[in-house]
Amino acid sequence: MKNTLYGVLGSLLSVTAFADSGAQKDQYQLNLSKGVTDISGQVYDLHMLMFYICVAIALVVFGVMFYAMYFHRKSRGAKPAHFHESVKVEIAWTVVPFIILIFMAVPAAKTLIAMEDSSKADVTVLVTGSQWKWHYKYMDRDLSYYSLLATQPEQIQNKFAKGENYLLEVDRPLVIPTGKKVRFLITSDDVIHSWWVPDFAVKKDANPGFINEAWTRVDQPGIYRGQCAELCGKDHGFMPVVVIAKDPAEYEAWVSEQEAIQRKAKEEEQKLLAMNMSMEELMSVGERVYNTSCAACHMPNGEGLPGVFPALKGSDMALNDMPAHIDIVVNGKSGTAMQAFGKQLSLKELAAVITYERNAWGNNTGDTVQAKDVNAVMNGQ
């Protein structure tokens, strides 16, 4: 609370300091975008149809109302009429809106049925949300990875100038082929998230324990940006979605290349088991991993958020109990927001980040954790 109050005072003083938001595209976008798929075009047309109907209704109703407000004023000498009922009129303005509704519902139902038909897909991607990142797994390929916000924290804290794609950029975008029907299987590891790419008109909730389906077919290659749309905790505003559509040949090449990279990394990992990394190397890798994977909750200074996320600085586990420390990082803690990082990070990264946590912010235990120590815990030894 205290920090918040100081924050309020500090920022009130600096409100005028930041004013360079110009030069972005779409600064005054007023309307839904047409998007890049057949479905998103249909959705846009429906939206415009609804909009024009609503404007027409509003003009008629407000027109009559403002006419009465002007011409039937007492100050113009208007005398009140005595009518206060008319069954005919009442029936008319019940039936006419009803007909307008049918006129709206028919095209809407058609589009909806098309949107919900995810059968006969060419490519299937499993999309898993977790606090606060997306994981993509290509179901028919040997490829999966996490996709995290790539905007620097310094931009968010107003220390650096904000880039063009501020908060809408990730380290590893999802890549899909153009001209193919791509099916998304959407789920979550923790709370409910919602995977949304406006240009595809795809928004589907990621529910823990259940799998939702959605699909798209993108014709134009390009980079499409969206965000998580369901409140999912502290960093809900910081988990963007970026999708790159490539033509099928490029897509194929990209997937094969990534598969090879992931295979190679796994082989390297086996070699690591036989060697020891130096403290310097562990700490530098560890700091990078900590800031991308841990700092959102435990904060960059290791102090956590009291009452929400525990501190690592000076914690008993980080200072003393190394096996428990490795265990909680690898396997997570059920019933809390602590995720199992064993499947998210490599052995090297896990070893490095645990070492970092045991030696940063004055924790200075001098312990180093090596890949083989982590591997032992992972294999239940």
Partner: protein
């Protein structure tokens, strides 16, 4: 319509406590109405202050004022306070003041329960607000508290949140029972169902909605409590539960709740528009039927809040069509108000100004609601600022404006003096302009793709957010003018008014003296 009876001189046959004791022990419907209205106003300012924090943070991109966790607490508690602390108690306050006076009853049917249903409310909100000062802060999962964010992933303050919602629910249910019993049993002779003022009708229907759905809310928060603290798995798939079931239960409460906050507003507007049109309300019977249909339909549309959760197509189609149907009776209401004004003899006193603003702005909110009903397009609107714009148009320039209209309309009857009209007009025009600067651009940024409930946003939304924040600060400040008008009125400053107060006003409450004596209609009037 009736014979007025004068009971202004009965006050001294009780020994009425004075000072603070008068307010704590009161069973008088007027005192309790006043307490509810002041409580609602204080909560409106507290919830408004939280909105100011939200708008200050969103004034420009980047994090400046609060950290994201506190931002989420602000959006959550702002919503809870405005719904349960400001709008609902304000309507209950108006019901307390007006229902007995409109139906010719001496008081509410259950006066001691009336006292209790008010006095537990401050405790509910003290508990809720106090939770903000706990380690880890207060509830941060949105006023809709979707599981499992509110269960496994929430802080310990959840227990306080659940307790405070329980108390609010008990208070609402008791208030609703009181309204129903009063209207059912205590109407003056001759006050048949179809002669009741529309405010009484709409509140009667609202009270039934409250009794139907507040227990559902109580059930939902209890399940959240046991999931979080006692190891149940109602909303946890790992234990055989379903997080989406939470949303079904919540919105089965939540959608009728929306109409709980707007039906009394319809009643208020239906009282005010005929007065200043000097013409009877057009289509009284159809207004009653429309209100009833809206209330009944409100039970079968809940899942339109959940189109993106992955429902079967058949369910999506059903909820889309049911939702669209609601626009028919709602349209009837708006058409009836306009027809009432048509060929009337209109004047534009302050209550009428607010009522006219209500009709226009509520209709805008209603039309964007119709757009939101269309499932395939809702996929694009859902959880964006378009939704925020929609429900603030119906709740702020709808429900809140109707409450202000009601206060200006009946305040002279309550105090016996005309309020400061110049100041009130300033309040109206400042509110009208700023509320639109505040909420209209939200449609644009929502359509352009800005999600709700985010503390920071992409640069393309920067300019509109700045305008929205400026509108927000202006709207917040404008309400201080309202505070000034009300305080002046409570100090009994101003010109004395006649019993009828407004030239075209009709109804039992305008036949008793101004100010309304402490006890009215101890002998029931006869309504012809």
């Amino acid at each position: 319509m009736s014979t007025a009876t004068e009971h202004a001189h009965d006050d001294h046959h009780h020994h009425m406590p004075t000072g603070i004791k008068r307010w704590i022990f009161t069973t008088n419907h007027k005192d309790i109405g006043t307490l509810y209205l002041w409580f609602a106003f204080i909560m409106f300012l507290v919830g408004g202050a939280m909105a100011m924090v939200i708008r200050a943070e969103l004034f420009q991109p980047g994090l400046q004022i609060v950290e994201p966790n506190f931002f989420n607490q602000m959006t959550t508690v702002h919503g809870l306070i405005m719904v349960f602390g400001a709008v609902m108690p304000a309507f209950t306050g108006l019901a307390n003041w007006l229902v007995p006076m409109m139906i010719g009853a001496p008081d509410m049917a259950l006066p001691r329960m009336n006292n209790w249903s008010f006095w537990i409310l401050p405790f509910a909100f003290i508990i809720l607000l106090a939770s903000l000062f706990m380690e880890g802060g207060g509830p941060a999962f949105g006023w809709t508290f979707y599981a499992p964010l509110s269960t496994t992933y929430s802080g310990d303050s959840t227990a306080l949140f659940v307790f405070s919602v329980h108390i609010m629910g008990i208070s609402s249910i008791m208030g609703a029972i009181n309204v129903i019993v009063t209207i059912w049993n205590m109407r003056a002779p001759g006050m048949t169902w179809m002669k009741m003022p529309l405010f009484v009708w709409t509140w009667l229907i609202t009270a039934f909605l409250l009794i139907a759905v507040m227990p559902v809310l109580a059930g939902a928060v209890t399940m959240v409590l046991t999931d979080k603290f006692f190891g149940t798995s109602f909303f946890d798939a790992a234990g055989g539960g379903d997080p989406v079931m939470f949303q079904h239960i919540f919105w089965f409460f939540g959608h009728p709740e929306v109409y709980i906050m707007i039906l009394p507003a319809f009643g208020i507007i239906s009282q005010i528009v005929p007065t200043f049109s000097r013409k009877k309300l057009f289509g009284y019977a159809s207004m009653v039927y429309a209100t009833t249909s809206i209330a009944l339909l409100s039970f079968i549309v809940w899942a339109h809040h959940m189109f993106t959760t992955g429902m079967p197509v058949a369910a999506e189609l059903f909820f889309m069509i049911a939702t669209m149907l609601i626009s028919v009776p709602t349209g009837v209401k708006v058409f009836n108000w306009v027809a009432t004004m048509w060929r009337g003899s209109l004047t534009f006193e302050v209550p009428m100004l607010f009522a006219l603003a209500f009709i226009v702005l509520f209709t805008i909110g209603g039309l964007s609601g119709l757009m939101l009903a269309i499932t395939p397009v809702d996929f694009q609107y859902h959880d964006t600022y378009f939704v925020v714009a929609h429900f603030h148009y119906v709740l702020v320039s709808g429900a809140v404006f109707s409450i202000m209209a009601a206060v200006y309309y009946w305040l002279p009857k309550w105090t016996g003096k005309m309020f400061d009209v110049t100041l009130a007009k300033w309040h109206f025009w400042c509110s009208l302009i700023s509320v639109n600067v505040l909420f209209f651009p939200m449609h644009f940024i929502g359509l352009a793709g800005m999600p709700r409930r985010i503390p920071d946003y992409a640069l393309q939304f920067a300019d509109f957010n700045k305008w929205i924040s400026i509108g927000g600060f202006a709207f917040g400040l404008s309400q201080l003018i309202f505070l000034a008008v009300v305080i002046k009125a409570c100090r009994k400053q101003g010109e004395p008014v006649s019993d009828q107060v407004w030239e075209g006003a009709e109804g039992l409450e305008w036949e008793i003296p101004s100010p309304a004596p402490y006890h009215t209609f101890e002998t029931p009037p006869v309504v012809k």
